[in-house]
Symmetry: C2
Subunit: 401 residues, 2 copies
């Protein structure tokens, strides 16, 4: 990891949430009441065989916890992160740093109450935030112990199920015997569903948020997200880690630009009106920009500097491989646990309302007890990352059932 | 134009609709009853000053007509084309060629009845289909008479209003004194609205189909569409027309890939299920593809070979400059004609249903008589290009009012 970080921009700290802050998504540091500072820990998992038959020599993933595990190991909750996120779902990792993305609903006395539950969140495999000091992952930027050099595109393909398997090893190592809840937004919602299919006896409740089935339509969109990376001449088929090579920052930024806009909504964009960027005149100069374009350029470039292009490609693939070991969604859900809370937002332009409705119907067809909750807000898909407070009491009630 | 065509793939004929056919969108040649073969004509407009203050030395745009103009010049209808289309909205340009994209509703005895109306459709400025023999346009691939070389990115910015102005010159040259209707899908719907704002006394009825306001959200999406072109090293800031230079086909194909998927819908994608492409194993090999990805790759590459990357950039800008001469949508609509038929489809992922609803409300607030019609079908946005037959009688009734 250190070698990789040297190859990238130095001095990035707390990049994921700092970036979210610059995007105006989260409350400023200091706005929340004082809390203990959490420790980011590292799970050393040893050798790991992927579901696709590949081998990862030295599995390492970061995680954080809050609350205490009971003697029976049955009061645990697992929070899974979104595509561009990491384990920082709750609490603070430094006295002056930002709170986690779901901090509004996780903590002492909060709907996911750490006075009652032992809450765990882990960085996934192939996490995109490679240059971020608070992210610990194993992926294409990691050193292959067999060669002493980064895997790059020789890293084995991993699936959503591999995310679950590595988290299961972590939970086993912590003594967890049962999850009262597995939950997460977007990519985290997909992991939650995959958990329910893989370990029905281990999971009591499931709460996918802004998530639904990855069908062919979504596989296609994920491909659109990643395509600019492959176009960037600096990508070099993934072989860009060597000292002195330019990084595929432009392609990665274009990839983030698609994600950034699609994860928002029309209402959010209204603030830019249709006005030109400062000092620019797009009606007269073909190279000049509109205000929303300049914002997207800057936000995406900043995000590109705190992430890794190859990891983005592997994360896309893991999403495309959602439930890939089952012949159908119905087959995957057949044996899944009974209690579900599906949280969605009508203005979601990533997981469309129609897809969420189909997923919810599939759960009911499979005989599950399904509650639903809707999020409002101007942020579209991102309502499920930064706008969860309004459904807090619904979650508390779900946990009490 | 000839120089440009030499620089591109030879032998492309009827590329726009041939491509639509390979995409399975239109009926096969021969499926419709025999019709006269239409002649594609060229309007030579001389020098043209753009709304942004630039000069085009030698304006040429292609067009086609059906029906006869009456002595008063008042029975004309103008059909405006979509982003990737051309004037071929109706009829056949050769005995064995395909019918136009709206042929189901335009022709003798059809809802837009060429026994009653003189129907005109023209290629826009900066039309993307530069290598297509049935498209005649003036844009960045055209020869600048001052230099004898292609304009490339020195071509002046043109706006949706410039599309209207050049079409107005064409209609004047044909003796048209009034339009009974101006209509079109998507980009053609935007042109229709721009027409209504610019020439309210000249236009009796307006029918925008799968279109609404270009707000900041849409400006951002248009930017995402074009961004892969600028990433392609063969783009060379637009300077790729010289003999022997590689064309920015990969970047242009990625641009079309975004358009191609977004212009469709989830229901259409279901045919690909989540299956791998033939002989590929994306669960084991990071370079392997899913079926929908392979289809998108092939469709977009074919489309890239029949279009021009710089023209794509200029067409994006023209769309972003929708109604750019008005302080607001309300101001643009204030003096517009009274009679409107707004046709939309709920599964449109380009012009979202919410945007269409806002646009329709703005028309009503401005005191217009607004009828609406909804399109079904599995194709999303494209329902408004290839699925218009079901609203034919609604259109006939609208024209009779």
């Amino acid at each position: 990891m250190d070698l990789i970080r040297r190859g990238m921009r130095r001095g990035v700290r707390g990049g994921v949430l700092a970036l979210a802050l610059t995007m105006g998504l989260l409350a400023a540091p200091g706005a929340a009441p004082a809390q203990e500072v959490l420790e980011k820990r590292v799970f050393e998992g040893g050798a790991y065989q992927t579901r696709g038959g590949g081998t990862i020599g030295n599995l390492r993933i970061g995680y954080q916890t809050m609350g205490r595990l009971n003697a029976e190991g049955t009061n645990a909750i697992l929070i899974c992160h979104f595509f561009s996120g990491n384990s920082h779902a709750f609490g603070r990792l430094s006295a002056t740093g930002p709170a986690g993305y779901w901090d509004a609903i996780i903590g002492p006395g909060k709907p996911i109450d750490t006075d009652k539950y032992f809450v765990v969140s882990a960085d996934t495999l192939v996490n995109v935030n490679v240059p971020d000091a608070n992210t610990v992952t194993t992926g294409p930027a990691s050193i292959n112990p067999d060669t002493g050099r980064p895997y790059a595109m020789t890293f084995p393909v991993v699936s959503m199920r591999d995310f679950v398997e590595t988290q299961k090893r972590l939970l086993d190592s912590l003594g967890v015997k049962r999850l009262a809840l597995v939950a997460g937004p977007s990519n985290g919602g997909l992991q939650s569903i995959e958990w329910a299919a893989a370990y029905p006896g281990f999971v009591e409740r499931v709460m996918p948020v802004i998530a639904a089935e990855i069908d062919a339509w979504m596989q296609g969109w994920l491909d659109l997200w990643e395509s600019p990376i492959r176009l960037d001449p600096n990508w070099r088929d993934g072989d860009y880690y060597a000292q002195g090579r330019d990084l595929p920052i432009r392609g990665l930024a274009e990839a983030w630009k698609i994600v950034t806009l699609q994860a928002r909504d029309r209402l959010w964009a209204k603030q830019y009106d249709r006005r030109p960027a400062d000092g620019q005149d797009p009606a007269r100069r073909i190279g000049d920009r509109f205000a929303i374009e300049s914002w997207l350029d800057a936000a995406a470039l900043a995000r590109a500097r705190t992430s890794d292009a190859n990891a983005f490609l592997y994360m896309v693939r893991a999403n495309q491989l959602f439930l890939n070991e089952y012949p159908s969604l119905a087959a995957a859900l057949a044996g899944a646990p009974a209690r579900w809370l599906v949280v969605s937002t009508a203005s979601d332009r990533v997981f469309l309302a129609e897809g969420v409705a189909e997923f919810t119907a599939a759960l009911r067809t499979a005989g599950k007890q399904v509650a639903t909750a809707a999020l409002d807000g101007p942020l579209g898909h991102l309502n499920g990352v930064v706008g969860m407070a309004p459904v807090g009491e619904t979650i508390r009630a779900f946990l009490a059932r």
